[in-house]
Amino acid sequence: MFVRNKTLTLAASAAFAAAALASGAARAEDVFKIGLIVPMTGGQASTGKQIDNAIKLYMQQNGDTVAGKKIQVILKDDAALPDNTKRLAQELIVNDKVNVIAGFGVTPAAFAAAPLATQGKIPEVVMAAGTSIITEKSPYIVRTSFTLPQSSTIIGDWAVKNGIKKVATLTSDYAPGNDALASFKERFTAGGGEIVEEVKVPLANPDFAPFLQRMKDSKPDAMFVFVPAGQGGNFMKQYAERGLDKSGIKVIGPGDVTDDDLLNDMGDAVLGAVTAHIYSAAHPSAKNKEFVAAYKKAYNSRPGFMAVGGYDGINLIYEALKKTDGKTDGDSLIAAMKGLAWESPRGPISIDPETRDIVQNVYIRKVEKVDGELYNVEFQTFEAVKDPGKAKK
């Protein structure tokens, strides 16, 4: 016979729980808190790290006091899981009394936090996620990254004008991918182009080979590609391995596939890939040169567009706080953010007062070798592009 009562282990766990639970902090009047929720672990970790790095860099350069308030960033890891995002956002708002929530590596995460932003009247600054519809989910959402229709419509038009007739598409099967595909398809077919093959690949996907073989067999002039930042490298490697570059099938698409973060390691196969995007580390402006140099010095790697999204996001918060002269309530902040315009490393950008979405230049770039390194070199600029996803309505 054995003894079967043992619940006292709980006494230990309760004490432990009490210790861990009691870690909230009181609100100090002169502190302005930003809850930064990004994926720091899991498959999207590089997005979170870039944003975190960029924000740290910005705060080093610009100090941590704005309009008499000390800026404090509380970093949280959501591993790109929306239920984590939601809980963390809720805790940040309720317990830490943050003034702004920011970050959001993926679209579902931005969605999950939207009702909280509305309820708590807290601005939600989206620094990465790129699905068009996000900003419509709450009147408190502002975006400093980009939307996929912005770049996809432009590359669609460009493809038509440059004699590309038949295109095969390969996009990741989730909201941003579907956004990219829809906007590209609309412009491209309206201009007389033909989609000869359409493949949606699962988001978590180790081997592109079979999909690429399908692309190759459909014999298009070019292939339109959207894969999330981080997967671009693998994609381009296998594109070259399959000999698609030799068979004359060009890669076009939004710039996620040739993300600066990884571009230099992709090998010469990417040379000549034409993409439309909002940022290139090779953007020829003084502001950008300074940014890239500082980032490289601090983190020993090249900043990608995710880093710029974070850099501009924190700048937006700083500027808004200056404009409200230290007023920290959500409505004043959002009002101040609307219409703000500034020079970013990516070029001139502004926040659309109507949609709270970002208005920015979209550049057509081609991958070239500059000083022995691969860069997206911009050769055409479309100025002040609003999100076409919303302009329609």
Binding site: P202, D207, P210, D217, Q231, R242, K246
Partner: protein, 289 residues
């Protein structure tokens, strides 16, 4: 027609790669009865060693491959002596807890040292691109994988069945007590086998960077695939896992090519059906312990 052959070729290459990655696990799990979910961590270690040697130190790729093997094998031997060997007799659940813990630690450590972005290994020109044989596209890199993995498989089979070490290992596995009574140093045999399995994983990790992508989450992402190979293949010989790897590789590639929307279905359904049909795997023996 040619696209069928190209797909077959890709599938075989993918399967071979999975086999090299997973066959060490087949040994630890199937023969030594140890659930080592950290197997992918050794593969990742090999991949990163190779990447560092090629990209930063400037070694040629073919010189770095054996080093990936050696490095992973050494890490494996070290961990076997210090940690693993104490856990052979423990319950499977303990082993799961331990090896998952090890994976978490590895993931965070690699992330800390190498960053969370994917990394690539700079390949020599010889291995890049594709050539056609009667219209069938043959990727050079995949061809090399098939060659290396094919040789390894034959070699392993010979070692296990023909050499003295092979018979010692089989004896040690079948009945450790009787084997040690016969003067076989069982712990040593196990340690060596474990290290060798880790080494193979390391080699597989280095080879897979190009195809599967290498980032700190590698061990978690591919754990499922390794387990499928081992359970579907069974553990009586290395033939089972070998065939299971090929089946998985070809099934995965064909599934994605012909029914892109249903890709993952194909694999998992095959696995479940096989396991229902033969609970001990294709070449399983009835559970001994």
């Amino acid at each position: 027609m040619t696209s069928i052959l190209t797909n077959l070729f890709d599938g075989v290459a993918y399967g071979m790669l999975l086999f090299v990655l997973a066959c060490g696990l087949a040994v630890t799990l199937g023969l030594m009865n140890f659930v080592n979910l950290a197997h992918g961590a050794f593969a990742m270690a090999g991949g990163y060693v190779c990447a560092i040697m090629v990209n930063r130190v400037g070694w040629p790729f073919f010189a770095a491959l054996p080093l990936a093997f050696v490095a992973s094998a050494m890490i494996g031997a070290l961990l076997e002596r210090t940690l693993y060997q104490h856990l052979y007799a423990r319950s499977h659940l303990d082993q799961v807890l331990f090896s998952i813990g090890l994976v978490f630690m590895t993931v965070a450590t690699v992330d800390y040292i190498m960053g969370s972005s994917r990394i690539f290994i700079k390949l020599p020109d010889v291995l890049q691109g594709q050539f056609d044989i009667f219209g069938v596209g043959i990727g050079r890199y995949r061809l090399m994988i098939i060659a290396i993995c094919g040789l390894l498989t034959v070699g392993l089979q010979l070692v296990l069945s023909k050499t003295r070490f092979g018979s010692r290992l089989r004896a040690a596995v079948d009945d450790p007590r009787a084997a040690s009574g016969l003067g076989i140093n069982v712990p040593q045999v196990f340690a060596f086998t474990f290290a060798f399995g880790c080494g193979l994983a390391g080699l597989g990790g280095a080879l897979s960077a190009e195809i599967l992508g290498l980032d700190p989450y590698f061990p978690l992402k591919f754990m499922i695939y390794f387990l499928i190979v081992v359970t579907v293949g069974g553990s009586s010989s290395i033939t089972g896992p070998f065939l299971a790897s090929l089946l998985l590789g070809i099934g995965d590639v064909a599934g994605k090519y012909y029914v892109p929307k249903l890709g993952p279905f194909v694999i998992y359904t095959i696995m479940i059906v096989i396991l229902i049909w033969r609970p001990n795997g294709l070449f399983g023996r009835t559970a001994t312990r």
